[in-house]
């Protein structure tokens, strides 16, 4: 490591980001980067810390839309009265990440930009239809949380962009997040299921089972014509299990994940009924 960049304004941060592009690693809470660096998997030459950029730790509700700055910690989401009141499923999902020590440090922007397949928030943010604000010196664009992650540790964030905010539309009253852990209670999910039922119908997003959160709109459409009952929930669970190609890791084999997806998707949809 040769350079530690800690700009004190967003403009300065964007300038540095544009200047260094791929040669700078953006640092938010550091819970993920630190593990990779400690283990020697990553040896960034330059770190761009967002810790001194003002405003990125703000939580606000604007016209019914929740706005979470990139540097908002998991703990802050979990404890925010605004989030707990309007987006309880989001508060719940963030409260299930690791331990309080980690949640005090890990950030909303970090967990999305890392694109770690085994994280909790991406699935629930995708299911809620959240948008992710990416800014650069060129301007600003918003991409759907469900489109942000492109593969293992890969996002659509350009080399000169910074993830600055997450915007979550009003939450449907029926929303559930189920985190299935195959090991310790503080482990990452083996299978994560976020399901919501609102004006646009049923959305079920399964996280932690493949390179990016998995959503099968044609299966969810089964719920358009009839209210989900136990039978339909089981059918949706079965179809998700068939439609996803899960991966194997130390939390479970692909075959095992398939069985858990069937059960956990069924339970999530049942909970919405």
């Amino acid at each position: 490591l040769t350079d530690w960049l800690a700009p004190e304004s967003l403009e300065a941060a964007l300038e540095l980001r544009a200047e260094h592009g791929e040669d700078v690693t953006v640092l938010a809470g550091g819970t993920f980067l630190a593990i990779l660096m400690n283990q020697g998997f990553l040896a960034p030459r330059r770190l761009l810390s967002l810790s001194r950029v003002p405003g990125l730790e703000r939580i606000a509700v604007v016209d019914g839309e929740l706005r979470l700055g990139a540097m908002v910690t998991h703990r802050a989401v979990e404890r925010s009265a605004a989030v707990r009141g309007g987006w309880p499923v989001l508060a719940e999902a963030f409260s299930l990440v690791a331990s309080p020590r980690v949640r005090h440090q890990a950030t909303v922007g970090g967990v999305l930009a890392d694109a770690d397949y085994a994280s909790d928030p991406p699935a629930v943010l995708a299911a809620l239809g959240a948008g992710v604000v990416l800014r650069s010196a060129r301007g600003e664009r918003t991409v759907a949380a469900s489109e942000l992650i492109r593969g293992y540790y890969e996002t659509c964030i350009a080399a000169d962009e910074l993830l600055v905010e997450v915007r979550v539309p009003p939450s449907p009253s029926r929303a559930v997040y189920r985190k299935f852990r195959s090991r310790s209670s503080e482990d990452r999910p083996c299978v994560a299921v976020a399901a919501v039922r609102g004006r646009v119908g049923l959305r079920v997003v399964v996280g932690a089972v493949a390179d990016r959160p998995q959503e099968l709109p044609e299966v969810c459409a089964l719920a358009d014509t009839s209210l989900p009952d136990f039978e339909l929930a089981a059918e949706i669970g079965r179809r998700y299990a068939e439609g996803i190609e899960p991966m194997s890791d130390s939390r479970g084999s692909a075959d095992y994940r398939r069985r858990v997806i069937a059960a956990e998707v069924r339970r999530a949809v049942e909970a919405l009924a």
Partner: protein, 675 residues
């Protein structure tokens, strides 16, 4: 608030920091180390620097200060000292090591198979007893120790059996994961003494081992042992001390080494094991014969693997009367990081196998697992398979207490039991010195504090004997220059052994003027490694656990509804401390039972961090968890720091067994439960 100074906090004037160059290959000759890119102002310890130094190892001297060949991914082949830790780590990356890869083996059964690559081809010739354990290495193999126990004639016994159960069990490797990592500060004094401050449970064993490395008289080495931020067996014998001392000598200044979390996973782990059990009973459930075969994977170096294999062997017999017994236990080299002492010391592995086999046997006999155990438990005056007569026996009391706590008799469905016997290091010696101070007394011993509470235990015992308040007693940190000799702080022996030595020291003081006293006790014994006969343990750790579980039928996720452990304590010295020991042991047992497992690919540990390696957390505690300390009037204090760990996995495994989910391997993952 009184801050504890850990070894990690130790500092000295002009001190530099160490970093290690570790082999990326599981087995490879070191052809050369190129240090030409080493930054100025750093010092590198290279193979040539350690030529002529002795080898070390607590039971078998099979380890060099710098490895050549490297025998596991992470083996230290060179080292660097620099003014800061970051500089040292950066400098270590500048060393270029040229390797010639050798064939490697990662499984104990593969390692004992014909044609397996030999990890220590010289093993068998260099065997040297360093800790009063008779070693039986098998020359020309990867077996660094074989322990056998023979009583009666197992084959004949099995022909008399109505029912015979035969099953092979496996247990995974685990990390101790103490909060404080390994930390060592080494300095050479102007007159050539080695002065070490290090987190260790074994200051005197370490001193002797290093004396052999440097060709010094043991008294020329000082080991100061500050309290440890946890150890659980990890900080035993020689770990970083030899290489750090060499670095300090070459740098001409004090050098400190502190490991990071990933390095902990390549420093010392728990022995993964394969345990095969054959056990036979008459139709009425009377055990007639038992055969236990163990293969303890000790990794690239023996460390205390021979001792672990021995204890694994006899603990696998279980606390039962069995006329015909044969144990054949092997400590086996593989190309994995060394495995060594770990809370439960061999018993964890074989108790799992032995007590699961008891439930399988009960099922075949159509008998209650509780009744099968009760019918065969050792009772006062019985002989154990080692030939020793058992005294102060409380297995049945422990088992009954555990069973009652989960309502086993009322309804055994979803419930499981386990009862165990575990030995204490034998032979062993403990000595202690007491002296008057202006405010009270100082009690000096080499018993090391690692959070288990030995200082409080000594204070409380001292206060009772000396008629003062515990707060008037000072317990200085162990220091081989000023503490009397003690075998080591392991095997739950300190409160028991030091308590007895303390009584002798206080007697000595009152007989000799009341200013200072010295007490020493020695326990003789040991087992013949070819027959397993002798004295395995001068006092027995006795315990039981019972579990009640439920299973999510769709995911296999196990919920422990209720877990209870009963441990024989003899006489409780420090109730709060003893309770914490029970709880801590049970929680560690939960991790072992359900998810802890060190994983590797071609010898490279793939989950060497606390995100991928799963430790039990508060949310993993059973819905209900309780325990008890069983006492007897007039009894000696019994060791209890480990007893509640080994029975937990089998209690849970047997509870699953009662639901028709019969598992043989640890951990019992949700996936295994569902399969």
């Amino acid at each position: 608030v009184r801050l504890v100074e850990y070894a990690q906090d130790a500092a000295a004037d002009g001190m530099w920091h160490a970093a290690f160059v570790r082999s990326p290959l599981a087995h490879a000759r070191v052809l050369g180390v190129d240090a030409s890119a080493l930054p100025a102002g750093c010092v590198a310890l290279l193979p040539a620097d350690t030529a002529g130094l002795g080898r070390y190892g607590c039971q078998l001297k099979d380890q060099d200060v710098l490895a050549d060949p490297a025998r596991f991914v992470g083996d230290i082949v060179a080292a660097v000292a620099a003014p800061t830790r970051a500089e040292a780590r950066a400098a270590a990356r500048t060393l270029a090591v040229d390797y010639e890869e050798l064939p490697a083996v990662f499984d104990p059964l593969a390692a004992v198979a014909e044609g397996a690559p030999l990890i220590h081809p010289e093993a068998g010739a260099s065997a040297r007893d360093a800790v009063a354990i008779d070693l039986r290495p098998l020359a020309g193999t990867n077996v660094c120790h074989r322990f056998r126990l023979l009583q009666g004639d197992v084959e004949r016994g099995l022909t008399q059996a109505e029912v015979v159960v035969e099953e092979t069990f496996r247990t995974a490797s685990a990390q101790h994961a103490p909060m404080e990592p390994h930390a060592t500060l080494a300095a050479w004094t102007p007159d050539g003494r080695l002065d070490l401050t290090t987190g260790t449970q074994t200051p005197f064993n370490l001193r002797d081992d290093l004396a052999g490395v440097f060709g010094l008289a043991p008294e020329r080495i000082r080991v100061a042992a500050p309290p440890m931020g946890g150890s659980f067996g990890a900080k035993t014998f020689t770990r970083l001390e030899a290489v750090t001392a060499c670095l300090a000598r070459k740098a001409g200044r004090p050098v400190k080494a502190v490991l990071d979390r990933a390095e902990e996973f390549v420093t010392l782990n728990r022995h993964p094991a394969v345990v095969r059990v054959r056990v036979g009973a008459a139709a009425d459930g009377t055990l007639v014969a038992k055969q236990v075969d163990c293969w303890a994977d000790t990794g690239a170096y023996a460390d205390c693997g021979p001792g672990v294999a021995t204890k694994m062997g006899y603990a696998g017999v279980g606390p039962y009367r069995i006329p015909h017994v044969r144990v054949d236990a092997h400590a086996v080299y593989t190309n994995l990081p060394p495995n060594g002492a770990f809370r439960g010391y061999g018993a964890t592995q074989s108790v799992w196998a032995s007590e699961r086999a008891m439930d399988l046997l009960a099922e075949r006999l159509d008998m209650s697992p509780l009744e099968l155990r009760r019918a065969n438990l050792l009772r006062d005056g019985d002989r154990f398979a080692t030939g020793e007569v058992m005294r102060d026996v409380h297995f049945e009391e422990c088992l009954e207490a555990a069973a009652d706590a989960v309502g086993y008799r009322e309804d055994p469905r979803g419930k499981g039991l386990c009862v165990l016997l575990k030995g204490m290091q034998t032979p062993s010696r403990a000595a202690i010195a007491v002296e008057r101070t202006p405010v009270g007394y100082a009690i000096r011993s080499a018993s090391c504090e690692m959070g288990q509470g030995i200082r409080e235990s000594l204070r409380l015992q001292g206060a009772a004997l000396l008629g003062c308040e515990p707060g008037q007693i000072e317990v200085p940190d162990p220091d081989t220059d000023s503490s009397p000799f003690d075998t080591r702080t392991t095997s739950s022996r300190s409160t028991h052994m030091m308590g007895r030595a303390l009584r002798a020291a206080v007697d000595d003081m009152s007989r000799n003027g009341g200013q200072r006293g010295y007490g020493e006790i020695a326990n003789d014994g040991g087992l013949d490694p070819d027959t397993g006969q002798g004295i395995a343990s001068t006092h027995w750790h006795q315990g039981a656990a019972a579990a009640h579980v439920s299973v999510d039928p769709d995911t296999g996720r196990v919920t422990v509804e209720n877990l209870h452990a009963a441990v024989y304590a003899g006489r409780v010295v420090d109730r709060a401390g003893a309770e914490l020991q029970n709880e801590g042991a049970m929680i560690m047992g939960l991790g072992t039972a359900l998810f802890e497992s060190i994983e590797h690919a071609d010898g490279q540990i793939t989950n060497a961090n606390l995100s991928d390696y799963s430790l039990p957390a508060l949310g993993d505690l059973p819905r209900r968890m309780s325990h008890e300390l069983i006492e007897r009037d007039g009894a000696e204090a019994h060791g209890l720091g480990e007893t509640a760990l080994p029975p937990v996995p089998a209690a849970i495994g047997n509870a699953l067994g009662s639901l028709g989910i019969s598992l043989t391997d640890l951990p019992m993952t949700a996936e295994d439960v569902l399969a």
